[in-house]
Symmetry: C2
Subunit: 226 residues, 2 copies
C-alpha cells in the first residue's frame, strides 16, 4: 500500500520508517520539499531521515502536502496539531475523495515554555474539526496518546501490555486502522466511539505531559484496567 | 481523626462510609442539614446514608459546610466541581487555618445531556483555583480520576493494580494524603507535582467519560505502565 503522510517531524519520520520497514511505499508531504536540511524540534533533518530509509527496497518520496494527499491510498496527519487544518487545506484534502485519514496530532502551545500547554478542550477537538472541514475523509483518531517511539513499538514499554484508542465515525475505516495498529504490535485496542470521542484522548494529553514530567520518561503509556 | 467532608452526594457518602469504617469520626457538611430527604443525582438520601452509618461506634454528624470546615482536622472537598468554590466560601474555609483539603471534585456540565461535558482545560483547573482562593489551605488533588466505589476499594478493579495520582504544593500534606490512600488499599501512587499539575487528572476526566461509555462500566481505572 502507498501511504501518504502529511507532516515531516519526528512523528512523521517514526511512522514513516516503520511503514517502510513493513513493506509499504511512502510519500511524505512537507511544506517545502526543497528544504531538506531544516532543523526539526525533534527528529532528524529530512535529508538525514531519507538517507536512513533509502535502499530498503521501497519507494520513499518527499513531496508537497498536496502530492502526498493525492497519491497516498491511506493518509496520516502527523503535523503539529496547531497547523493541521492549514496543512490539510494546503494539501487540498477536500479533493482526494473518500480516503481514510489517520489523525495522530495534538494541539500544543510551546510558546510559553515547559510544560507545553494543551489546547484541547470540550469545545476544541482537532479530529472533530478536521472531520467537519473535510467530510469526504474518514477521519480516525489514534496514537496521539503515546510518544513516537512507543507508537510503532508498543512492546518497548511494559512488554506491550497497555492500551491504544481509536475514535471515528466509519466502522470500516476504524477496522483498517486497527489492522495497521495490530501490525505494529498493539494488542489492547479500545474503540471509544465516534469522532466526538476523540476529545477524550486529546484532553488526556494534559495528563500525559504531567506523567512525562513526573516519571522523567516518555517511554510510558496507560493500560485501561477493567 | 475527625474528618470534615464538604459535600453530601455519592462521593461524600462513599468516602464517609469508608472513613467511619476505618475508625475516624466524621462531620459531613451540606448546604441545608435539615433537608435529609432530598434526592441525590446518585447515592442515597442523607437520612438513608446516616441510618446505614450510625451505630458503628463512631461519631457521624450532618452539619453545615461551615461547621464541617471548622471541626474537621482534615477536610475533603466532595462537592460537585461547578459549585466547589461557592461551597468553600459558604464554609468560610479561609477562616480555618492551615488545614489539608483533599480535593476530589470534577467540573462537569450535565445541562446538555449525556455524556456530561468536562469543563477543565488549560485555563480552568479547579484545584489550582481553590488553592488561589484559599491560600491558607494545603490543597491536594487526588481520586478525581476514579468512580466513587473504586476510590475506596481499588482491589475491586483488576486486583488493585492501577494508579492513583496526587498533586499539591505541600510535601507534608501530600504525605498525609498518600498515607490515607494506602489505607484504602492503593499501592501505585504517582506524585504529579505541584497543584498546577492537577489540570492533568482534571482534563483526563474527558477520557474517563469516554472509557465509561465504551466499556459500559465505571468499574475501571488506568495503570501507568512505565
Amino acid at each position: 500500500m502507498k501511504i501518504g503522510i502529511i507532516g515531516s517531524g519526528v512523528v512523521a519520520q517514526t511512522l514513516g520508517s516503520k511503514l517502510i520497514g513493513q513493506g509499504h511505499d511512502l510519500i511524505l508531504g512537507t511544506r517545502d520539499p526543497n528544504k531538506l536540511d531544516d532543523k526539526k524540534m525533534f527528529g532528524a533533518t529530512l535529508r538525514e531521515w531519507k538517507s536512513q530509509t533509502d535502499g530498503r527496497g521501497r519507494i520513499v518520496e518527499i513531496a508537497t502536502f498536496k502530492e502526498a494527499a493525492a497519491q497516498g491510498e491511506l493518509l496520516i496527519n502527523a503535523t503539529s496539531g496547531v497547523v493541521s487544518l492549514e496543512a490539510l487545506k494546503l494539501a487540498a484534502a477536500d479533493k482526494v475523495g473518500a480516503k481514510v485519514l489517520i489523525d495522530v496530532a495534538n494541539e500544543l502551545d510551546h510558546s510559553k515554555g515547559m510544560p507545553p500547554r494543551v489546547l484541547a478542550s470540550q469545545e476544541r477537538c482537532l479530529a472533530e474539526k478536521i472531520q467537519e472541514a473535510f467530510p469526504n475523509l474518514k477521519v480516525v483518531k489514534t496514537l496521539n496518546t503515546i510518544g513516537a517511539p512507543v507508537m510503532v513499538e508498543p512492546k518497548a514499554v511494559g512488554g506491550g501490555d497497555h492500551t491504544v484508542f481509536v475514535s471515528g465515525n466509519d466502522a470500516e475505516a476504524k477496522a483498517t486502522v486497527v489492522a495497521l495498529l495490530r501490525s505494529f504490535g498493539w494488542t489492547d485496542l479500545l474503540d471509544l466511539g465516534d469522532i466526538s470521542s476523540a476529545r477524550g484522548p486529546e484532553m488526556y494529553m494534559a495528563m500525559w505531559i504531567r506523567l512525562w514530567g513526573a516519571t522523567k520518561t516518555g517511554m510510558l503509556n496507560i493500560k485501561v484496567v477493567r
